[in-house]
């Protein structure tokens, strides 16, 4: 299964809509990292509203992906962690999901835009349409 990566200018949106197998999760990780590098994305929002189970493996994939994307130079926010997923993750181990989070995609995008603005490299956006 391929997870669609949507582009909004220099921001990428990924919404994980289905229960992923481990292989899907690894595929998602490499697809996203490649896409971020390809368009030199300034921000990435990963929406996991639809995930009702995030085990330690999936948490690690999400965390690692966020770190990788960060290493490339993009801002990352994880959106829509479900309340019971949050409870389960903390019960299992405190540091399983350490990335920046937002309630939903809308708030996530606001956070990304604000962070990108304070970085001061937003002028890169102007080259976007050439």
């Amino acid at each position: 299964m391929k997870i669609p990566i949507l582009r909004l200018g220099r921001i990428l949106l990924v919404s994980i809509q289905d229960d992923l197998t481990d292989n899907d999760a690894m595929q998602f990780q490499s697809d996203l990292v490649e896409r971020v590098a390809e368009i030199e994305a300034l921000g990435v929002a990963i929406d996991i509203t639809a995930l009702d189970v995030v085990d330690s493996y999936m948490a690690r994939v999400i965390n690692d992906t966020a770190c990788m994307v960060g290493l490339l130079g993009a801002e990352v926010v994880i959106c829509g962690v479900q309340p019971f997923v949050a409870m389960t993750l903390i019960e299992m181990g405190r540091d399983l999901l350490g990335a920046n989070c937002a309630f939903n995609l809308e708030q996530g995008l606001e956070i990304l835009n604000r962070r990108i603005a304070t970085r001061g490299d937003i002028h890169i956006d102007e080259d976007e349409d050439d």
Partner: protein, 136 residues
């Protein structure tokens, strides 16, 4: 009346079976009237244990059963494999310990999610039982 002693046996051979097993766990949990929090706990615990099967033993099985009695609504899950076994169970249940390069949260984390956790392991047979229950 609920259909007592409902039980489902899921062979664990590929990563897709992990998804099948955790969905089955959630479904039975929901059917027995456990809340969303417990459904998520059990589904996550089953996901961790069945992943260990694939990772360390390549294949095994997962049996999810309704073992409710007069006093308790209860789901018991038995995850079994014929892999190399866990050499040091105490160590494997220690937070942060991993032989696979993982986070080491799998077994100790799983134990914290459930009401009952039992483990026996020797080369050739590892059996882990977990249960979630609530008073009727």
């Amino acid at each position: 009346m609920t259909e007592a002693f409902a039980s489902e046996f899921i062979p664990i051979r590929t990563p897709t079976d992990i998804v099948t097993a955790r969905r089955a766990a959630r479904t039975l949990c929901e059917r027995l009237g456990f809340g969303k929090a417990d459904q998520t706990r059990l589904a996550t615990a089953v996901s961790e244990l069945t992943r260990n099967v694939i990772q360390y033993a390549r294949e095994g099985s997962c049996q999810i059963s309704d073992t409710s009695d007069a006093g308790y609504r209860r789901i018991r899950v038995l995850v079994e494999d014929h892999g190399p076994g866990i050499p040091d169970i105490t160590l494997a249940l220690t937070d942060g310990y991993s032989t696979s390069g993982g986070l080491g949260a799998g077994l100790p984390g799983t134990r914290r999610l459930v009401d009952d956790f039992g483990i026996e392991s020797a080369p050739g047979l590892t059996r882990i039982t977990i249960a979630l229950q609530k008073p009727l």
